[in-house]
């Protein structure tokens, strides 16, 4: 503190004289006024009750005297015009850059997070600004955000610091430092203060090293936030639906222990907030574990993986580290119904009925034998074609798709792929491959049939059902599979058995497994190209899509040749809606995850301030400026006035005639 007004030597004499005057006045005030009373005896009676207050009455005068001396001292202080050092130094312009990457969420047990340490340091810097100093706040996440512009007042700065949150992904230190230096260009006393945990990729090290340089334009101070680098992160999460069972999904999750201690946690899989599966994990430091969890019940499309601390392990919570990488998202597209065509003369209602019971899974077209050729419109797009023609000839050629053919060799010169071996009279179904998916749950027992044919199998063909060793039901797999059943269901009692609709359903399931239904999730951060076709949306003529993020923000992206570039900064499920073209109005969902091994790595490039040069070390938090504006003497005079009024009201009040 310095004093711009009167010096102590100049104040000493008048201060001493005033103090002496106050003391003399108080001594004089010791003399009391004399009041004549006519009934002194009654006064004496009354006053006997107040004897105990004598001491306080005497003491009160001394306190009042001391108060007057204090007031004199304050007046002398005001006359000396005190000014804090912060008012006299050169002006500064400080750019405070706070790293808000995911790693700043790290913390020691029960301690503040790295981000909280940085915010506390930033507040200390702001409180140390003098009346001529200015500050700028920048938050460096995957995107650089201006928290408070240059010249914003303390209230705006503190409000911005109250709202700062972690952002997924890595901090863009380069962009932040560049923005800071551009803002400080031409300002008085420019300084950059970078508050970070230095848990950056190696590629960002050069921006920290630049602070060490001799170029004053590159100079900056670094304040380090530190904590134990404990973090358990989900680095990959994907899910796919079982084609044959749309209510079941299979998920893959990869968890990485980036800490220095073993970590235990629970991996919980949720579908629309409902838990559908869980597995307990235990990983050693640096270890990674991939878990595939099969046949989870998930009729919904949105899946979420979460790392949950174990209730019986108090260290489990701390080993999880920052929360942004403890959850991941996946979207599984719904399975389209199979296009199934039944080519039949309509006399086998059992077959048609069995296919109709699969109404959610199949779109059934029943056509007559005459329209059952490969060039038929329905057959061109069919996934499976059932041929139940009885005595009619099979079309030649057969369509290039999955085929199920009943009694294929009824007529000579049949185009059926699996060749005829021999005719069978009153065959019995004596052997069956029960393990094959097509025959799962199907029991052929005492099936009566009038006639049948066996097949001559080639290598790779699978005999499913045999009559005394002769395959009567065979499967040939390939790009398009064919299942040949060597008897006419009309000439057997199989359609009336439970086995028949099961056989039909298993066959459809088996052929549907060719499409898995899988869309990969994207990571936050860098811009990535996404194909509309991958999202199941027709891409012709679509030029713009609307993207809605998990918190409801909307923005439009241009589509070129069925592809668009998307840069997501928020983990979660994003909705993509085609706004024009053939797929206008159709909506797909895509999962964005913070699954970035580097971003989840809390190990800093600089572990302690000792590694920094003294000039670039931020140093301790400077002391706060007591008053940042206005002459101090006015405040002192105000205090003097308030104290005088209080002293007058409490002691001096007297009204005399």
């Amino acid at each position: 503190m310095s004093f711009a007004g009167l010096t102590l030597a100049q104040l000493l004499l008048p201060l001493g004289a005033a103090a002496g005057g106050v003391t003399v006045l108080y001594l004089l005030k010791m003399r009391r006024r004399q009041v004549e009373v006519p009934f002194a005896a009654l006064w004496a009676q009354v006053l006997r009750q107040s004897e105990t207050r004598k001491l306080w009455r005497r003491l009160r005068r001394i306190l009042s005297w001391l108060m007057q001396l204090v007031l004199l001292g304050l007046i002398a202080l005001a006359l000396s015009d005190p000014r804090p050092e912060s008012w006299l130094r050169d002006a500064r312009t400080v750019a405070v850059v706070i790293d808000t990457s995911a790693s700043m969420g790290g913390r020691d047990r029960d301690g503040p997070t790295r981000l909280e340490q940085a915010v506390t340091r930033a507040r200390g810097e702001l409180e140390a600004l003098g009346p001529n100093d200015r500050a700028l706040l920048l938050f460096a996440g995957a995107e650089v955000v201006v928290g408070a512009p240059l010249g914003a007042g303390p209230a705006a700065m503190n409000a911005a610091l109250d709202k700062v949150t972690l952002s997924p992904g890595e901090a863009d230190i380069r962009a932040a430092m560049s923005l800071a230096r551009n803002a400080l260009a031409g300002r008085a006393g420019p300084e950059v203060l970078l508050l970070t945990d230095a848990a950056l990729p190696e590629s960002q090290r050069k921006y920290l090293d630049a602070c060490r340089g001799d170029d004053p334009k590159q100079a900056c101070r670094i304040g380090l936030s530190t904590s134990e680098p404990a973090n358990l992160a989900i680095t990959a999460f994907a899910a796919r639906r079982y084609p044959g069972d749309r209510e079941k999904v299979e998920v893959l999750a990869q968890v990485h222990n980036l800490g220095l201690r073993p970590a235990r946690a629970l991996l919980r899989i949720e579908a629309d907030g409902i838990e559908i599966g869980r597995v307990e994990l235990e990983l050693q430091p640096g270890a990674s574990e991939r878990k595939v969890i099969s046949r989870l019940d998930a009729a919904r499309d949105r899946l979420e993986a979460r790392l949950i601390p174990l209730s019986d392990d108090p260290d489990s919570r701390y080993s999880l580290g920052p929360g942004l990488d403890d959850e991941a998202f996946a979207v599984v597209p719904p399975v389209d119904p199979l296009d199934v065509v039944l080519v039949s003369d309509g006399s086998n209602l059992f077959l048609e009925g069995a296919l109709l019971t699969l109404d959610d899974y199949v779109r059934l077209d029943a056509i007559g034998p005459e329209a059952g050729g490969a060039d038929a419109e329905e057959i061109k797009n069919a996934d499976i074609v059932f041929y139940d023609l009885g005595t009619k000839m099979l079309p030649n050629p057969l369509p290039e798709t999955n085929l199920v053919i009943f009694d294929p060799h009824r007529n000579p010169d049949s185009p059926a792929p699996i060749a005829l071996d021999k005719e069978l009279k009153r065959p019995r179904l004596t052997e069956q491959d029960r393990k094959h998916p097509i025959l799962r749950g199907v029991v052929f027992k005492d099936i009566n049939m009038f006639r049948g044919t066996s097949f001559k199998l080639e290598p790779g063909d699978v005999p499913l059902v045999s009559h005394l060793g002769d395959p009567i039901v065979a499967l040939r797999e390939g790009r398009h599979s064919v299942l040949q059943i060597g008897f006419d269901p009309r000439q057997s009692d199989l359609p009336m058995r439970v086995a028949f609709p099961l056989l039909v359903a298993n066959t459809v399931d088996y052929f549907a497994r060719t499409s898995a239904g899988f869309v990969a999730a994207l990571s936050v951060g860098a811009s990535r190209e996404v194909a509309l076709a991958d999202l199941g949306m027709a891409s012709r003529d679509c030029t713009v899509v609307r993207v809605t993020d998990p918190i409801g923000h909307i923005h439009a992206l241009a589509v070129q040749q069925g592809r668009f570039r998307m840069r997501a900064t928020l983990p979660g499920i994003h909705q993509i809606e085609a706004l024009d073209g053939e797929a206008a109005g159709s909506v797909a969902e895509i999962a964005i995850n913070a699954a970035d091994l580097q971003a989840s790595n809390l190990v800093p490039l600089i572990e302690s301030v000792d590694e920094l040069d003294e000039v670039q070390r931020a140093g301790p938090v400077p002391p706060p400026v007591p008053i940042d504006q206005g002459p101090l003497w006015t405040l002192i005079i105000l205090i003097v006035a308030v104290l005088s009024a209080a002293e007058w009201a409490s002691y001096q009040r007297r009204r005399s005639v």
Partner: protein, 311 residues
């Protein structure tokens, strides 16, 4: 006057005795006397009566006939009805003195002497009414140090002697009601009606003097003259550290006049007056409080009606 500041009054509030009984006051006295006459209308004679039975005109009582009684006083109606010979007795007018005792102690003379002035005016008014009613009126100005007597006078024309006496009565001394009332009782040949005008600022003997007079067959009337500000000092401007000095002499006492102390004194003063009042009423002594700011005529009429000054 000493250099000590006088908070309860200043020099400019002092009353000049020459103005004590001015023309306005005399007109007031005349009016009061007229009112007093009206109050006494309906009575056979406007003189003071006693309970003595004698040869007056007003029936007082019956007694049995004794040989030698005047048969004109035999009550023939009683004889016819009750077959008893009784004679009537009549009240005899007796001329009893009205004695006005005025406290002229220093406590009455404080705060410019307003209380003493009021007491003298009340005494003058009572004396005038008494003289106009053909009563014998005597005045005593008393304190611990003074005892001055104006012998009983009769006749309305003697009022000026009363006024002169009151005007010139010496003031000072302490308030010693017991000893002064003892002297009044001792020097009174006939008891009569004795009106005591004082502030009664005597903690020990405030009532004892009245009781003593009553014991000596005096018909006492107590008029307590009070200054409202002396009675309730919260209405005064006194605050802070002061030294209390007794106007009648005695040691001074230091205290800080705070609102709490002043309120306690006001409560104690009221309690003191109430005790005096209750003692007076318990013994049938009419008690009146006369504040400086009371209406003078109302005050006197209250005294006339209830005090037994008028019969």
């Amino acid at each position: 006057m000493s250099n000590r500041s006088r908070i309860f009054g200043s020099k400019r509030d002092r009353v000049v005795d020459d103005e004590l009984f001015d023309e306005a006051f005399m007109r007031q006295l005349e009016l009061l006397q007229v009112i007093a006459r009206r109050l006494m209308r309906g009575r056979q004679r406007a003189e003071r009566k006693t309970r003595k039975v004698g040869s007056g005109l007003e029936f007082a009582d019956h007694r049995e006939y004794s040989p030698g009684d005047d048969i004109r006083n035999v009550d023939w109606n009683v004889l016819v009805r009750l077959n008893q010979i009784l004679v009537r007795q009549y009240e005899e007018d007796e001329d009893l003195p009205l004695r006005l005792v005025v406290d002229v102690s220093q406590s009455m003379a404080a705060r410019g002497g307003h209380k003493l002035r009021l007491a003298k005016r009340i005494a003058a008014a009572l004396a005038y009414v008494g003289l106009a009613g053909l009563d014998r009126v005597g005045i005593i100005a008393m304190s611990g140090d003074n005892y001055t007597t104006l012998p009983a006078l009769r006749g309305k024309g003697r009022i000026f002697r009363v006024l002169d006496f009151l005007r010139q009565a010496p003031t000072g001394g302490d308030t010693d009601l017991r000893s002064t009332c003892r002297r009044v009782a001792a020097e009174s040949r006939a008891p009569g009606v004795t009106v005591l005008l004082s502030d009664f600022y005597d903690l020990k003997g405030a009532f004892d003097g009245l009781n003593l007079l009553r014991f000596r067959k005096h018909e006492c009337i107590c008029i307590q003259v009070l200054d409202p500000i002396e009675a309730d000092p919260t209405r005064s401007a006194v605050r802070g550290d002061v030294s209390l000095v007794d106007v009648e002499g005695g040691a001074s006492r230091d205290l800080t006049m705070s609102p709490e102390v002043l309120e306690r004194f006001a409560e104690a003063h009221e309690a003191f007056c109430k005790r005096l009042e209750s003692k007076c009423r318990a013994r049938g002594i009419p008690y009146f409080r006369a504040y400086l700011d009371d209406d003078f005529e109302d005050l006197l009429l209250r005294v006339f009606r209830r005090g037994g000054v008028l019969r």
